[in-house]
């Protein structure tokens, strides 16, 4: 069945000791991703999206400590593995990563092909034994695989592209090349951290369509980090909304966009230019993870909060099907 979860993040909490005090950066994060599914992770800057990505890649911030939770990936709790093992067996192999700024991922002094081959040398192809020697024949196989992947992401003249340098490509092309490299390792899950914010709208839309096609063609699941519900609408099957380190709502993209249940989700969607001729924002800013507001972390910016919201932390409750929300006002209403 396709319904079984590929990734289950359950009740994940993480804190970091800083000079100013303990920062509880993730607080009861809870979502899942099925095989081949595209899930959006949405929230304003500072909500902890990139921290979730780092934890999934086994790259805990310095001084960080997991306070609670599990991360089940293909049935194994990543948090029980040693970081070294996550790095060796999972990161770059079954979990691939696409960063925000593709340029910084390349070394300007080497050709794109040399760098792509280096990645494959390190991770190996899935059908190769872990200790495969990097012989001429293996290199040739890798090169052939890369050319095949560059074709899949619509890079013209893939063999020629391998011989060129990063600056000879546009931002959109570099992002495609990165996607091709990551996909060559045939991951089960692709983590994309705001991969299109640095790109033009035309290029952004091309990349969104490309990711959608690739998810279908290669059966890879995608976790798309974004702050734009337009991107969610165009790309994602389901979405998980974060506020100040907490999961506040999860559900199908359609349900969440058309019937947002959490006041934060509602306000975030209202910022989208499709919905209003005037300019809509959310006054105030995401609270700091050091001494965050008690109760619901959104209550200081919430228009419908009551005293109870400052007291009690709302937990995720199921509304309908897979649509879940953490909001006391919602509980009171139903």
């Amino acid at each position: 069945m396709t319904d079984t979860a590929l990734l289950e993040v359950r009740d994940l909490s993480l804190s970091v000791k800083t000079d100013a005090g303990v920062a509880r950066i993730l607080d009861h994060i809870d979502f899942s991703i099925r095989r081949g599914e595209i899930v959006g992770l949405v929230g304003e800057s500072g909500c902890g999206k990139s921290t979730v990505v780092r934890v999934l890649l086994g790259l805990l911030p310095k001084g960080a400590q997991i306070d609670s939770g599990r991360i089940l990936f293909k049935g194994v709790d990543l948090l029980t593995l040693r970081p070294k093992d996550v790095a060796r067996r999972i990161r770059g192999r079954s979990i691939g990563f696409i960063p925000q700024d593709p340029y910084q991922s390349f070394n300007p002094t080497f050709t794109v092909g040399k760098q792509m081959l280096e990645v494959l040398r390190w991770s190996g192809l899935p059908d190769e034994a872990p200790d495969t020697r990097w012989t001429r024949a293996v290199q040739a196989r890798h090169r052939a695989k890369l050319i095949e992947m560059l074709e899949a992401v619509n890079i013209a003249d893939p063999a020629g592209a391998l011989e060129r340098y990063p600056h000879q490509f546009s931002g959109g092309q570099r992002q495609r090349i990165l996607i091709a490299t990551v996909l060559a390792c045939q991951p089960d899950l692709l983590l994309a951290d705001e991969p299109t914010t640095a790109l033009d709208v035309t290029t952004q839309m091309q990349i969104l369509h490309l990711l959608r096609d690739l998810a279908l063609d290669f059966g890879v699941a995608v976790m798309m980090v974004t702050h734009d519900f337009g991107v969610v609408a165009q790309l994602c099957d389901r979405v998980s909304v974060m506020y100040a380190g907490q999961t506040v709502e999860t559900g199908t993209a359609h349900a969440v966009i058309h019937q947002p249940a959490h006041p934060y989700t509602e306000r975030l969607i209202a910022c989208h230019p499709d919905l209003s001729e005037t300019i809509v924002g959310i006054p105030g800013q995401v609270s700091s993870p050091i001494n965050p507001p008690m109760g619901c972390r959104f209550h200081p910016r919430c228009l419908i909060a009551t005293d109870a919201c400052a007291d009690q932390r709302p937990v995720l409750r199921t509304l309908e099907g897979a649509h879940r929300v953490a909001c006391l006002m919602r509980e009171a209403a139903s």
Partner: protein, 335 residues
């Protein structure tokens, strides 16, 4: 109608092309090609286009930071083009610029107050008391408390950095402000406060804005008129309602169709493929023809000039194609 505040006529700027004695010839880049427009007092003119289309070069020409190869710029009836940069800069003190990345434009080792003082000193405001007065006024205007003068850039949030960028420019008392990508990198939820502030400041100080952006939604909601640029040329120019309500150039349609909407529709949008061609290698005739879904043979022959298609709406696309683009399939404007 009163005379325009700023008149730009047939402006052109190329880079490279000639090799110096010691340097190899760089390929010739035509960054701005035959650009003409008027800017009226108090209006907001938007300039949109993909990266590399010449937006920043145009801004630098208007500011006098670069010298044009051809064409003229008239400010308040005075010709300010064709002068050496230093002279041009002095005459153009009415025109100021807000940097695309205000964080990078601030010196990380300097407190905000020092930066504000220094900016004014460079612009010849030598009276320290006058500078103090202006600093407290502009900080108040951008909604920051006076103690922000003691902050270092890294202590500011993205939104606060934008505010300081605006304050710094306002302190020079310009009449025209060029805003380069004023919201890039900001969350949608924060963009709104910055944009609203820009509107408030414009009214309070009777400012005229040129707003450069690749974000159509920002331009749509902020601007009175819009110029769409492609590879150094304006391809569509008109009032905002006209350009968004009935976009007429195939490129404008593609741009509008590419903005991620809240409703997924896979059918109506005709996506343009690929990137703009290399600026050293611009196609003959209409530069957009290599990506245009409607291009016909004759598009390779002549560069289309801006022609009026209705009052205050002009496009650079020949009438043969216009008939095609006005067909029913063209209703991509659902914004």
């Amino acid at each position: 109608m009163t005379a325009p505040l700023l008149q730009v006529r047939n402006l052109a700027k190329t880079f490279g092309g000639t090799g110096g004695f010691f340097s190899r010839a760089q390929p010739l880049v035509s960054a701005i090609d035959n650009v003409s427009f008027d800017l009226h007092d108090g209006e907001v003119l938007g300039i949109v286009g993909e990266s590399g289309c010449g937006k920043s070069t145009l801004a630098k020409l208007l500011l006098g930071l670069l010298r044009e190869n051809d064409g003229s710029i008239t400010l308040d009836g005075r010709q300010v083009s064709g002068l050496p940069p230093r002279e041009a800069r002095r005459l153009r003190s009415d025109v100021q610029y807000v940097h695309q990345d205000p964080g990078a434009a601030l010196d990380p080792w300097w407190r905000v107050g020092n930066t504000l003082h220094e900016t004014m000193r460079i612009h010849g405001i030598s009276d320290a008391k006058e500078r103090e007065t202006r600093i407290s006024e502009v900080l108040e205007a951008v909604g920051l408390s006076g103690d922000f003068v003691n902050r270092y850039p890294h202590e500011l949030s993205g939104g606060q950095q934008r505010r300081i960028g605006l304050a710094r420019t306002l302190a020079l008392r310009p009449r025209i402000i060029l805003l380069d990508e004023p919201t890039s990198g900001l969350d949608l939820s924060v963009q709104a406060t910055v944009l609203r502030l820009m509107n408030d400041l414009r009214e309070r100080y009777k400012l005229t804005y040129i707003l450069i952006s690749h974000d159509l939604s920002v331009v749509h909601r902020m601007c009175d008129r819009i110029a769409v640029m492609y590879l150094g040329r304006i391809v569509e120019l008109g009032e905002t309602e006209a350009v968004f309500g009935s976009p007429a150039h195939p490129y404008t349609k593609a741009l509008i169709g590419s903005a991620p909407k809240l409703v997924r529709d896979d059918t109506s949008v005709e996506l343009i493929q690929g990137d703009p061609p290399d600026a050293t290698n611009i196609p003959s005739g209409c530069a957009f023809r290599s990506r245009c879904p409607l291009a016909i043979d004759s598009c390779a022959a002549t560069k289309p000039e801006l022609e009026e298609i209705s009052a205050s709406h002009r496009i650079a696309c020949p009438p043969e194609l216009r008939r095609l683009t006005n067909g029913p399939a063209a209703s991509v404007s659902s914004l």
